[in-house]
């Protein structure tokens, strides 16, 4: 077993070189490179966590904005409906008023026309009486040679016309 047979001759060399090379490994690789590698991994993990948190926050903000937008839209829609209803109401009122005015004007004109009609028929009646009485006087004069008093003839005609 060379490990024991050569022990006295080689132990110093073995220990020396083991210390040299393991020392190099520890100080240059273990202390030099490994912390950097660990830091890289830690940074990456941190960045991933941060990015995820940022994405989550952005999503929450987007959802809140959407909710707010929905509320605004609903409110605006309600406002618009109210506006339309009010306009409809006003329009109805205005048209009713104008219809009423027009109806009143028409009534007034109809009443005036009736009055004029009545007046016309009255004057026409008057005219007929006059014409009839004159006609009666002329008829009596030419047929019977009688001379009638105009007033008496008018009274007679009036009596006949009105029964």
């Amino acid at each position: 077993m060379p490990q024991i047979a050569q022990l006295s001759a080689t132990y110093a060399s073995q220990i020396f070189w083991a210390l040299i090379f393991f020392g190099f490994v520890f100080f240059v690789i273990g202390r030099g490179f490994v912390p950097g590698v660990l830091a890289t991994v830690a940074n990456r993990d941190k960045q991933i966590a941060d990015d995820l948190a940022a994405a989550k926050a952005a999503r929450t903000a987007a959802e809140a904005a959407e909710e707010a937008w929905k509320q605004t839209a609903a409110k605006q829609r309600a406002d618009a409906h109210a506006l339309i209803a009010a306009a409809k109401h006003d329009a109805t009122l205005a048209s009713e008023t104008r219809l009423g005015e027009a109806a009143a004007a028409v009534d007034a004109r109809m009443a005036e026309a009736d009055a004029r009609l009545a007046a016309a028929s009255a004057s026409a009646l008057q005219e007929i009486e006059t014409v009839a009485s004159e006609a009666a006087v002329l008829i009596a004069q030419s047929l019977a040679g009688l001379t009638l008093d105009a007033d008496a003839a008018r009274a007679s005609v009036k009596e006949v016309l009105h029964g």
């Binding site: 077993m1 060379p2 490990q3 050569q6 022990l7 001759a9 080689t10 132990y11 110093a12 060399s13 073995q14 220990i15 020396f16 070189w17 083991a18 210390l19 090379f21 393991f22 190099f24 490994v25 520890f26 240059v28 690789i29 273990g30 202390r31 490179f33 490994v34 912390p35 950097g36 590698v37 660990l38 830091a39 890289t40 991994v41 940074n43 990456r44 960045q47």
Partner: protein, 261 residues
């Protein structure tokens, strides 16, 4: 013929000085640059290339960076699970420990014999695993006494110890505590050595039986060869598991030192 087929399963663990450095000394100690040192150097270089190539620090990692990050993340999780938040500062040490052992184990298994190079498994020597185990144990002791002072000795009196056993339990706990560096070092060294010896012995069966003729080659050589293939897969698994066990036990001991019981 018999001499040709003879395989010494222990030869692979021989330490040989390279590049004429046989008599290189430091403070009276021989520090020859051996094949063992060469393979630790190769382990270090391979690990350096792997980690350096993967620490580009890009936000979106490539395949290589992903591989390195998986390895560091694995150690990070191991320490977080076993030691808790206080374990973060041991990540460089446990990472170095785990990857150094893993790379050394796997490099020692490479089938480089096919191209005439003989891989050497540095972790199959308790002089190397012992260094790592003593380092881990020393860190546990330093951390324990630094954080808890003499209160660290309460480690030897687990919660719920009955009063009438107080004379025995601390003694047993002390022994188990002191055995830790040895168990750490020996476990790795034995596991590595056993696997390599087994493969070597089976390969000697294959060679010797095939040289003895077709019949023996079929009856002994072929099953041995099939077994070798299976054991190669097992050894790759063991290479990973032993590195993991070393790192896991060290982190458990560090947990004792950080949090006591």
């Amino acid at each position: 013929m018999a001499e040709q087929g003879k395989v010494d399963p222990m030869h692979q663990f021989m330490i040989e000085p390279l590049f004429g450095t046989d008599h290189l000394t430091l403070g009276g100690y021989n520090i020859a640059f051996t094949n063992s040192a060469l393979w630790m150097l190769i382990t270090t270089v391979a690990l350096f290339v792997f980690v350096a190539g993967g620490s580009k620090k890009q936000l979106v990692p490539g395949r290589w960076q992903m591989a390195v990050e998986s390895l560091t993340g694995f150690i990070d999780n191991l320490l977080a699970a076993n030691v808790g938040p206080a374990g973060k500062k041991y990540v460089p040490y446990i990472f170095s420990l785990f990857s150094f052992i893993l790379f050394a184990n796997v490099l020692g298994l490479l089938p480089l014999g096919l191209v005439g190079v003989h891989p050497f498994t540095a972790t199959s020597h308790f002089t190397v695993t012992g260094v790592l185990a003593v380092l881990s144990f020393a860190i546990v002791l330093i951390v324990g006494f630094k954080r808890h002072g003499l209160h660290f000795f309460s480690l030897f009196v687990p919660h719920g110890t009955p009063g009438w056993l107080l004379w025995l339990i601390p003694f047993i706990e002390l022994i188990s505590f002191l055995v830790r560096p040895f168990s750490l070092a020996l476990r790795l060294f034995v596991a590595m050595m056993a696997g390599h010896v087994l493969l070597e012995v089976l390969s000697s069966f294959v060679i010797a039986s095939t040289n003895s003729g077709f019949l023996w080659g079929t009856v002994v050589g072929l099953p041995s060869f099939l077994l070798m293939i299976a054991i190669c897969a097992l050894e790759i698994l063991v290479a990973g598991i032993q590195a993991y066990v070393f790192a896991l036990l060290t982190s458990l001991y560090l947990n004792d030192a950080e949090n006591l019981h």
